[in-house]
Symmetry: C2
Subunit: 130 residues, 2 copies
């Protein structure tokens, strides 16, 4: 449990940076060399390597060397764990947003039904008899 | 897009701490007063308030005052956004872990089928004829 908590600390900590999230997005297309990874971010290689170190320590990226070229690869397991943790709260956003929406559409529908059941003429009659 | 990115920064940043995650877990049961929230965490009120400020700035918690008592409530919207961001990567863990599992179980099954098709006696015969 403590280990799981520490893993979540490092996963969420690593994801709290837009460059690191952009690096993960680049890795969605597959394995990529370090220099190709640094290119689109307009950052120096040492700066990218610093971010990669954080991602690697969080277990989100793995690196391997092929000759003189270093390749990076996405490791999805910590993302899965983070998503599992977040999904505990799904009942909240589904319970609030969805049910409010459903409640409003139901209220709207029942109002329409009421209008169909009690046309103006009948409704007036009902009011008089009661 | 920039605003969305900044929101994710603060959401993931706020979630990268075990005490803040524990505060959110406490709020799952509903609205809770500040003193009742501080109790189980064995922390001073100022320390809990510091964490609450981070959660509030990330839009994860809202506070309201009823008389002299301050109540805290969970706000799930940023959690939903974070889960949506993470779910982009679902194809990775489903694509790697699931398919590996499926591949292994399929290999296992086909090996069993092969064993059924070619009992030792027949297999020997087949080998001789080929």
């Amino acid at each position: 449990m403590v280990k799981y908590s520490a893993t979540l600390d490092s996963t969420f900590g690593a994801l709290a940076d837009p460059t690191r999230r952009a690096i993960l997005a680049s890795l969605m297309l597959g394995e990529i060399s370090l220099s190709n990874l640094a290119g689109p971010h307009r950052m120096s290689l040492p700066a990218v390597m610093k971010h990669l170190r954080v991602l690697e320590q969080a277990g989100l990226v793995s690196q391997k060397k092929a000759g003189r070229i270093r390749h990076c690869q996405l490791a999805a397991k910590p993302l899965k764990d983070a998503e599992t943790w977040l999904s505990q709260y799904r009942v909240f956003w589904e319970g609030t947003f969805d049910s409010l929406e459903r409640y409003l559409s139901r209220t709207d529908q029942s109002e329409k039904k009421e209008d169909q059941k009690w046309p103006r003429r009948n409704r007036r009659r009902k009011t008089r008899s009661s």
